[in-house]
Symmetry: C2
Subunit: 210 residues, 2 copies
């Protein structure tokens, strides 16, 4: 079995193949900017799904907002351990950033029971009370996204940016439509698709471009 074993070469080849496929299936496709290209291609790299050419929406301020917050040592809050696992923590730490997922914390479980809400929502409530700049990275729970928007509209939270790509059939698409109507800088996936792997890949794409 002959196969490429060099990780850097595998990644380089992958991105060349992705561009080749785009040239083939969407010859007139134009990326809006270099960084959008990097983000969208990394989304495709992670999912092998070229639908991300069309459904990934990056608000005008989003990349700047995420980049600046990272440079300021923001904390990244994810809704799943899976998204947290996928983020390049070495890169993140180099900027003095922290990352956290509170979904399994005792305080979150308790709060969720008390308030009859999802643990994802309780985790947002607890994160909102912490000091410092915040980037939310949501790949799974529409309820987390709704809670962030709700607290922001109440003035109880000021997220630097949201990567909002929950996947699924109940509330995912709607929660992202709601996010798109806010003033919060966002990167989102329209419709049902998304995921924790995608959420992490998007953050990594911005990190690698810094």
């Amino acid at each position: 079995m002959a196969y490429i074993k060099n990780p850097a070469l595998i990644e380089q080849n992958s991105f060349e193949i992705i561009q080749g496929i785009i040239d083939e299936i969407r010859p007139s496709y134009v990326f809006k900017s270099e960084i959008e290209e990097k983000i969208i291609k990394r989304a495709i790299h992670t999912t092998a799904d070229f639908e991300y050419l069309d459904i990934l929406k990056i608000s005008e301020q989003a990349v700047n907002a995420i980049s600046e917050a990272i440079k300021n040592g923001a904390t990244l809050y994810t809704d799943t351990q899976m998204a947290l696992s996928g983020i390049n923590k070495t890169k993140l730490k180099a900027f003095g950033c922290k990352s956290a997922c509170y979904i399994s914390e005792e305080s979150v479980v308790k709060l969720a029971k008390e308030k009859e809400m999802t643990r994802s929502m309780a985790a947002v409530e607890i994160a909102a009370k912490e000091p410092g700049e915040k980037i939310f990275v949501i790949g799974n729970a529409p309820t987390a996204l709704y809670k962030i928007i709700e607290l922001t509209q109440k003035g109880e939270l000021l997220p630097a940016a949201i990567v909002g790509v929950p996947v699924g059939f109940v509330g995912a698409a709607e929660s992202k439509e709601t996010l798109a109507q806010t003033n919060i800088p966002y990167i989102l996936s329209q419709g049902r698709k998304g995921g924790s792997n995608l959420a992490a890949a998007i953050i990594n794409a911005v990190l690698y471009a810094l």
Copy 2:
């Protein structure tokens, strides 16, 4: 903002919506068995991608092999922390199973450097030397899949089963084609698609059916 906040209800609704969409887009689609239905629907639940109706291949012995190994307290080895994070460890522990991902272990980093191989391959070599029944859960690295097959063919490893769903553009599809030609019980995704999230979802589907 009115939205469903009950996790059990969200999941139940999701699976009903998935069936509704299948009825609509693939009215003549028939699942081969109840467990295949559960696995494929959970794959769709995790990805919102109905292509998994066609590209998920489950070898005849796979579900039995995974189920029996879990009941025997097998260890699940993943190629990424992300896949490990996504597996329901509470369920797994109830069967006396362990789970591990060695990708960032010092011994793996060292072995990968020495042998000029990927860390994913080195992690398989180290896992292969451990005692006990083994299920491999591969969502990312074709090189891990190739290494498992190579060691198995050499008689140095006897995996109970493989969930082999690496995603990507370099070697992913080919590695899964190679897996399909072995006698190892497998669940795989044909072509480029797959991922750590999918790998975890497949294991969880089998776990929830036990």
